[in-house]
Amino acid sequence: MYDELLLTVLLTSVPLILAATGELVVERSGVLNLGVEGMMLMGAVAGFGVTSLSGSPYIGMLGGATAGALTAALFGFFVLGLATNQVATGLALTIFGTGLSGLIGAPLVGQAIDGLPVFIVPLLSDIPVLGVLFRLDLLAYLSIGLVAGTSFVLFRTRAGLIIRAVGDNATSAHALGYSVLKVRFYTVMFGGMMAGLSGAYLPLVLTPHWAEGMTAGRGWIALALVVFASWQPWRVVGGAVLFGGVTIMQLAGQARGWSVSPQFLSMLPYLATIIVLVAMSRGGRAERGAPAQLGRIFLPPR
C-alpha cells in the first residue's frame, strides 16, 4: 500500500522536477520566464498529438520537447531580441500558450494514446517501499539524469560558470567578451525544452488523455520550486517530492475518511509555496543565492 502511494507521489513530482530544473537554469542566467505554464501546455498537447499521430511515445517525447523549445524561442525573441519587459512577456506567453494549446487540442479531446512503458529494474525493484524507485518510466529516470547533468554543468564546467556569471553580473561578463544575449537565449531554449518535456509527461505517463489546461497550475508551482530550492538543482527534487506528496495526501486523506474539508487540503500546496517563499527570502535575495541580474534587461553597450 505505501509503496504504491510513494510511487504515485514520485510520478506526480516528475513534471515539477523537469520544469523547475529548466527554469532554474534560465534564472541562473538572469532571465525570469513566467511563461512556464504556457510552455508546459504546449509540450503536453504536442506530446499527446505527436504520439497519437506517430504511434510512438518516444517520438511524442521529442515532439513535446520541441514544442516547448519553440515556444520558449518566441519568448526569447521578445525578451532578448526586443528587450521587452520579462514579467509581462512571460505572462503573455502563458496566456498565449494556454490558448493555443487548447485550440490545437480541441479535436483531440476524448482520444487516448499508449504512453511510455514502465522499466522495471530486475532485482532492485523488489526492495520493499524504496523499490518503487526502480519501477519508473524512461522520462522519470531521464529527469533525474537531467538534474544530475544540470548540477554538473552549472557547477563544474566552464559553460556553467559562464551562465552563472551572466546571471550575476552581465556587464562584466560582456566586458570579458561573452555574448550575454546568446547565452541567455540558449538557457531559455533549454528551459523551454524542459518545460515541454514536463508537460508531455502528463499525457504520456500520468493519464493518456488531453484536456484543456491539464497542467492545472503546475507551471506556477515549478516557478515557486526554483526559489524554494535556492536555485540549486538537487534541492528541486526534494521540493518537488514534497509538493507532490501534499497533493496526493489530500486525496489519500479523503480516501481514508478524514473529515478535513477537501478545499482546505487542496489549498495546502499553494499555502506551502507561500510559506516556503517567505522562509527562503528572509535576509534579502543576495544571501539566498538568487542571481543578481534576475529579471533585469540587458542591453549590450557598444
Binding site: N85, G99, L277
Partner: protein, 370 residues
C-alpha cells in the same frame, strides 16, 4: 544580429501608434491562425470584431463585459507604474465578492438602505486585505509579489468554494452550491439611458467604472501621491533620494489595486449574478493585465483598452455560435495582442538596427555584439 539603440526623441504620436498597430497586427496574425486551422479567416474575423457590435443591445453587453476590466485595470495601472507586479487580481476580485456577499447576506433589514455603499466598502476592504499579504511579505521579507499574489488566487478560489458549499449555502438549494439570492437592495439594476432606454444588460456599475478610471487618471497624473508612484517605478533611486518611502508606495499601490479588484468583484456579482456560486470570475483578473498594458499604463485609456479586449471576448462567443470555433481562441488573441504591445513599446523607444557581421562561436572571447 539585432541591435537596439535608444531613440533620442519619442513623439507622442508614435506612442499612440503602438496600441493601434498592435491591435491591427493581432487581428492579422489571428486571421492567419484561423486560416491555418482551416476556418474561413474573413468570416471568423467578422464574427470576432464586427458581429458583436451589430446590434444595440450587443453594444450594451460590450460595456457590461468591459466594466470589471476597467475597474481592475485602473488598479493594476497603479501597481505596474510602480513596478509592483500584482498578478493576483483574480483572487482579490473573488475576495471582494466574498466581502460584499457577506454584507449582502447578513446585513439586518433595518440597514438595507445603506446596503450598497456598505457592500462597496466590504468588497474593497476584502480585496485590499488579500493584496496586503504580498505587500507585507514584500516590504518585510522582500518576497516576490508575483508568486505570492498568484498562489493566493488559487487559495481564494478554494475559499469561495468552501463557503458556498458550506456555511453560506442556501438551505433551500437542495445541497447545490449556491448562496441565497441577494436581497433586492443588494442588486445593481439595469441602466436606462435617456432616449435610448435600456441597452442589453447594461447596468449602472459602468458609471462606477468610468468614475474609477477618471479618478485614477487624476490621482496618478495630478497629485503628489501619484507622482510618488510614478517616480518609484521610473527612477527608484531618485525616489529614495527624494525621501519617498518605497515601502509606503508598495503597500499603497497593492492595497489600491486589491481594493479596486474587490470592487469589481462586488459589481460583477450584484449586477450579473445576484448570488454567489463557486465560480464567479472568468479570468477578469488576468485579462485586466492585458488591458493595463494596452492602455499603456494610463488610467484614462483603460476605458478604450477594456472595450477592445471585451470586444474580442464577445467575439469569441459569437465565433463559437456561428462557426464552431473553440472559445480558447480568445486566449490566443489576447496573448498575441500583449506580445505585439510589448514589441511595439520597444520599437518606439529604440531604434532597431541589424548587424550582419558574423561573430565567432557562441561563447568565445573577442568582439561580441549581441
Amino acid at each position: 544580429m539585432m541591435r537596439l539603440t535608444p531613440r533620442p526623441y519619442v513623439s507622442p504620436h508614435q506612442l499612440l501608434l503602438v496600441p493601434v498597430l498592435s491591435v491591427l497586427l493581432s487581428i492579422i496574425l489571428g486571421g492567419l491562425i484561423f486560416a491555418a486551422l482551416g476556418y474561413n479567416a474573413l468570416d471568423a474575423l467578422y464574427q470576432f470584431f464586427v458581429a458583436p457590435l451589430s446590434r444595440p443591445d450587443q453594444i450594451g453587453n460590450l460595456f457590461v463585459k468591459a466594466c470589471p476590466l476597467i475597474i481592475i485595470g485602473t488598479g493594476l495601472v497603479f501597481c505596474y507604474r510602480a513596478n509592483i507586479w500584482n498578478i493576483g487580481a483574480e483572487g482579490q476580485l473573488i475576495f471582494g465578492a466574498l466581502g460584499a456577499g457577506w454584507v449582502a447576506l447578513y446585513l439586518p433589514e433595518s440597514w438595507h438602505f445603506m446596503m450598497l455603499p456598505l457592500m462597496i466598502l466590504g468588497g474593497m476592504i476584502a480585496g485590499a486585505s488579500l493584496a496586503a499579504v504580498p505587500a507585507f511579505l514584500k516590504t518585510r521579507f522582500q518576497t516576490n509579489e508575483i508568486l505570492v499574489s498568484l498562489m493566493l488566487t488559487y487559495v481564494a478560489g478554494l475559499v469561495i468554494d468552501w463557503l458556498v458549499r458550506g456555511p453560506w449555502r442556501d438551505p433551500m438549494s437542495f445541497g447545490f452550491p449556491l448562496t441565497p439570492y441577494y436581497p433586492d437592495a443588494a442588486l445593481i439594476g439595469k441602466l436606462s439611458l435617456p432616449v435610448i432606454g435600456k441597452l442589453g444588460q447594461l447596468h449602472w456599475g459602468i458609471l462606477i467604472a468610468l468614475c474609477v478610471s477618471g479618478l485614477g487618471w487624476f490621482i496618478l497624473s495630478r497629485t503628489l501621491a501619484g507622482f510618488k508612484v510614478r517616480v518609484a517605478g521610473d527612477a527608484p533611486r531618485a525616489a529614495r533620494f527624494a525621501g519617498f518611502s518605497p515601502n509606503i508606495v508598495t503597500f499603497s499601490v497593492l492595497l489600491v489595486s486589491g481594493a479596486l479588484a474587490g470592487l469589481a468583484g462586488m459589481v460583477e456579482v450584484s449586477a450579473n449574478m445576484g448570488q454567489l456560486q463557486p465560480q464567479i470570475s472568468f479570468g477578469y483578473g488576468f485579462t485586466a493585465i492585458i488591458v493595463a498594458f494596452l492602455a499603456r499604463l494610463n488610467p484614462a485609456a483603460v476605458i478604450l483598452a477594456a472595450l477592445i479586449v471585451a470586444l474580442s471576448e464577445l467575439g469569441g462567443d459569437s465565433a463559437q455560435i456561428a462557426m464552431g470555433i473553440p472559445k480558447v481562441v480568445t486566449g490566443v488573441f489576447k496573448g498575441i495582442l500583449l506580445f505585439m504591445l510589448l514589441a511595439g513599446e520597444t520599437i518606439t523607444r529604440y531604434e532597431l538596427s541589424f548587424d550582419l557581421r558574423m561573430t565567432g562561436g557562441k561563447m568565445s572571447r573577442g568582439d561580441a555584439d549581441v
